[in-house]
Symmetry: C2
Subunit: 218 residues, 2 copies
């Protein structure tokens, strides 16, 4: 059964390489799971068809045969059930993978994404700065002691945490956290990440080409 | 096998009734899973013993036989695997429960908790106000159309979303969202929530009594 990952057909340049279908592409590449890409028109993302698929008008959405689900974190859990390369099968290894995946979403990204969002408007002070530092310090202490977050091996929890930490502004903030820098660099050096990342860039670049052609014709 | 839910022995009054062991108590009450409470001293929460249990110095932590895990969202997923009353067993029902649980953590709470945190210092404007309204509007449209988030029945996703939305300041903000108000009120009227909530209040009240006695003695 081929998996289908839904993303946008096109996005403006800034988020390219960071649209969250990347997390699913990366996981599929790690696991050797075949997948195809389907696209919703960026301009149609708040229309009824896409809202029926994703009620917050976001991507990705994953289709696996008859099963469809949204939220990149939930899609990663779903993919992790399909391949031991993403999550070990023993109960404690499974629990650790899930706790660190959720820690990425709800203890790190819950602070880092609003911190990034507030920073976009360049306020004199970011009210989330101290909270972010506290979370990064705790995480630094963990990865200073071990190579992987969960189960003593690469899991989907490492994948997700690296994707959270690689946001450019956050990577700059990691200068005070050498173990987090090294952790993130190790994950981003994996061939599966590099392929997934390049494929996403190519996907949006080819949309530019198609739009240019349509404009020239019109 | 009795489950053990770790929380603090005591917290100051404001967070009482909202400490996240409540989510696990509530889920266990819904599922009829026996559990006991274990407590880390509030003053020892950043000490090495608790950091080994919970690297962000938070609660809850769940012990299930040999398996131990942290993050309330991960603990809820773990409990949901133990009881069909929390998550249906068919693939689509399971996927919907997981996507809505993650949506609570990463699409709603990722905005609402930082919004609440920033609001504590009473700034003239909250930079997350517009983003929060956008997310609540999308969620309002969902619960205006159906009684439950996932699978056409009560699941752990409803439990988590109601706990996210019942934060007092957020409940006040729900005045513009009648379907979300009604959704939250329905979940909070469940006997399992009322028992879990009262038990947490009693747990911290008895810690007050013990501290008062120790102080009188000392």
């Amino acid at each position: 059964m081929t998996l289908t990952i839904w993303t946008y057909d096109w996005v403006p340049p800034p988020p390219r390489g960071h649209v969250r279908d990347l997390r699913l592409r990366w996981a599929c590449e790690e696991a050797g799971l075949p997948y195809r890409i389907a696209a919703v028109r960026f301009e149609d993302r708040t229309g009824p068809d896409h809202i029926a698929r994703q009620p917050f008008a976001q991507v990705p959405v994953l289709q696996d045969g008859e099963v469809r689900l949204f939220e990149s974190g939930a899609c990663l859990l779903h993919l992790a059930e399909k391949s031991e390369s993403l999550m070990p099968r023993d109960p404690q290894g499974r629990a650790e993978t899930q706790e660190w995946l959720i820690a990425g979403l709800n203890s790190v990204e819950m602070v880092s994404v609003p911190w990034w969002f507030i920073g976009l408007s360049n306020p004199p002070e970011n009210p989330l700065e101290g909270w972010l530092s506290a979370r990064l310090s705790r995480l630094e202490a963990v990865v200073a002691q071990r190579d992987h977050l969960a189960a003593g091996r690469f899991t989907v929890a490492d994948l997700l945490m690296a994707d959270i930490l690689r946001v450019p502004k956050l990577r700059a903030a990691l200068i005070d956290y050498p173990a987090l820098q090294a952790f993130t660099a190790r994950q981003l050096d994996r061939p599966a990440f590099r392929k997934a990342h390049q494929d996403q860039l190519d996907h949006f670049a080819s949309a530019d080409a198609a739009r240019d052609a349509a404009r020239a014709k019109g």
